[in-house]
């Protein structure tokens, strides 16, 4: 007869195998608090810049005719790209039953939700009248006017809101059992929070069956959504008549680039988590190694797409396209272009391809250069096409960002870090039920390889 008696500690853990995974939720160090303060400061500064820009007008930025889109749209595409790290990768791994995925999925899915939220803010930041952003939403209103469903920006609205819903659910549903565990092992406000979020999860066999089925089915749908989202983002550009934007390859090119930058972000964040939360036992070199192989594939795919995109433009030699093309290859934007090639291909390719260099440190270096390179890639897609002379009119403008644009961009980087820190403080960042307890392994020690009865 063991009457239930949760201990009086804020959160008490049975000395079980899940303890190391619940520990990040318990222990809050000084460095964490300092980091939160620092990041909050950076975010507040970015918010201030945004509000300031709202009062002064977008003239504050470096944008001028004909460069109507630049930094913010670059950030938008970049973050939406990062968001493909999570749900897409995790869904693919889930559907293909890759057993090494267990410690990776939660971290990846969280990236998706936060990156998508951050990316979704940028179209609003970039609006001339951001306080009217809700006019893009289709809802019955007193003005009796609806948005224009033919605009690619409207497609963005639908695609991003669908993807955000899907990926938030895809993060949330597999977390239910862990939330229930946290509920059972905590007290006070945490208990109330987890009790709410756990949605009365008990772990009945009926619930397990349904949940696993739902995750499996949603994985299939979420892949279809994720692919469509970045395709639609790319269509913002390729539907326009701007030369060098108007390209049929942009759909798959953007999706590949998104997965590319997404995996890089995932590797980087996993390396940080591993170091900060001492999760070496769970995030093992083999996980990094497998992700690095995926990243290598994407490096090659990216290189292929850039080559295909460039050579068709160059060979076609259309007068409208060439100014933007040459400005990238040898003109005003050439340093950025070649830096992008360096960051996205020349540096990461050997690191990822040569087994001796494919250490965690090497992968982190490759991931950082890839993230920089992919940001440059987005910038080089957006700006040169708009900035160079198009058609017959002599109209060009050398864009240079204003400090508010840079501040807002950096603030979103800080926002990503802060959201991730808060998330990992409140929720188990590694799926406990997936990793710790694979049935039936009653006395498994440490991390066991998933048993036959594990999750699909």
């Amino acid at each position: 007869m063991n009457a239930t008696s949760p201990a009086a500690a804020p959160i008490s853990i049975a000395p079980g195998r899940e303890a190391p995974l619940l520990r990040p939720m318990l222990v809050t160090g000084r460095a964490y608090k300092h980091m939160v303060i620092l990041l909050t400061g950076v975010i507040s500064w970015g918010a201030f810049c945004f509000i300031y820009q709202g009062f002064i007008g977008l003239g504050l930025t470096g944008l001028r005719r004909p460069v109507f889109w630049a930094f913010f749209i670059t950030d938008f595409v970049f973050w939406i790209g990062i968001s493909h790290a999570g749900t897409l990768i995790s869904a693919i791994l889930r559907l293909s039953s890759a057993s090494w995925r267990y410690p990776v999925t939660r971290a990846a899915e969280a990236i998706t939700v936060f990156a998508l939220g951050i990316g979704g803010v940028f179209p609003i930041v970039h609006l001339g009248r951001p306080w009217l952003f809700f006019w893009l939403a289709p809802y019955p209103n007193a003005r009796m006017i609806w948005p224009n469903f033919r605009s690619p920006l409207e497609w963005d609205f639908f695609a991003i809101s669908t993807y955000l819903t899907g990926s938030a659910l895809y993060l949330f549903l597999p977390m239910l059992p862990d939330l229930a565990l946290a509920r059972d092992r905590s007290q006070g406000w945490r208990h109330r929070l987890y009790r709410f979020l756990a949605m009365s999860w008990q772990g009945t066999q009926q619930q397990w069956h349904r949940l696993e089925l739902a995750i499996q089915l949603m994985a299939a749908v979420v892949i279809a959504i994720a692919v469509s989202v970045h395709t639609i983002v790319s269509w913002d550009f390729s539907m326009a008549i701007v030369p060098s934007w108007h390209s049929t390859i942009f759909g798959p090119y953007f999706v590949a680039g998104a997965i590319f930058s997404g995996i890089a972000a995932l590797i980087l964040i996993m390396a940080i988590l591993r170091r900060v939360y001492h999760l070496e036992d769970y995030l093992q070199p083999k996980h990094f190694n497998n992700l690095a192989k995926l990243l290598l594939t994407m490096t090659l795919l990216w290189g292929y797409f850039v080559f295909a995109e460039s050579i068709t433009t160059w060979y076609g030699n259309l007068p409208a396209e060439m100014p933007a093309f040459w400005s990238k290859i040898s003109g005003h934007y050439a340093p950025l272009f070649w830096a992008m090639v360096l960051c996205n291909f020349v540096i990461p390719f050997p690191i990822l391809a040569i087994k001796r260099l494919r250490t965690i440190t090497g992968m982190v270096i490759a991931s950082i250069t890839i993230l920089i390179g992919m940001w440059l890639e987005r910038f080089l897609i957006v700006v040169p096409g708009a900035a160079t002379q198009r058609f017959a009119f002599d109209n060009w403008y050398g864009y240079f960002p204003h400090w508010t644009e840079i501040s807002i961009s950096l603030a979103t980087l800080a926002a990503m870090a802060l959201l991730y820190m808060v998330f990992s403080k409140l929720f188990p960042i590694i799926s406990i039920w997936d990793v710790v307890g694979q049935a039936p392994a009653p006395t498994g020690e440490g991390i066991a390889e998933p048993g036959p009865g594990g999750a699909p």
Binding site: M1, N2, A3, A142, R143, M144, I145
Partner: protein, 173 residues
């Protein structure tokens, strides 16, 4: 392995349903009736209309210009030199007139600049739209108040009914 004692399960909690209901109620309660602004003089539309003064008697530009127009204080004084001089409101008006000062009427209907909208009284009057369609029956009213919420949906509904055209640039330019 052990057995737990008999435990009671608390019933389903209703506070979530309650919170949702409150939110829904707040959503429904979104139409806030705009109040009438405080006017310097308690002008009584009812008295004037019942005495036989027509709308256009005072708002004389309604048929010919975008604005309906307000009479100046001298015009008020012209009639009120003899009529009901004992009423406190009229005395206020006469005091303004003596000082040669216009009455600082407060605007009742106005559009924010960001609406970029131009309402033309003349086209509506000439089209045979009664004043009361938008301003209500002022025979019962004192100082004017916003009688009809004048958002774009109201304009559009009426425009569609009368076949008055719904091109954006008719009003927004």
């Amino acid at each position: 392995m052990d057995e737990s004692p008999i435990r009671r399960i608390q019933p389903t909690r209703w506070k979530y349903a309650l919170a949702a209901a409150v939110l829904a109620a707040l959503g429904v309660y979104s139409r806030v009736r705009p109040a009438a602004p405080d006017q310097p003089v308690a002008f009584a539309h009812s008295v004037h209309l019942k005495a036989g003064v027509k709308c256009a008697g005072c708002h004389r530009d309604a048929a010919s210009s975008p604005q309906a127009g307000l009479p100046g204080v001298k015009e008020c004084a012209l009639c009120h030199a003899k009529i009901r001089t004992e009423s406190p409101a009229v005395r206020q008006v006469l005091a303004y007139a003596r000082r040669g000062e216009e009455i600082p009427w407060q605007r009742v209907y106005s559009f924010p600049a960001s609406a970029y909208v131009r309402f033309r009284h003349d086209m509506h009057v000439r089209g045979g739209i009664a004043c009361s369609t938008c301003h209500g029956d002022l025979r019962q009213a004192g100082t004017a108040r916003v009688w009809k919420p004048f958002n774009m949906g109201v304009c559009l509904t009426c425009h569609r009914e009368h076949g008055a055209g719904t091109e954006c640039e008719q009003c927004h330019y």
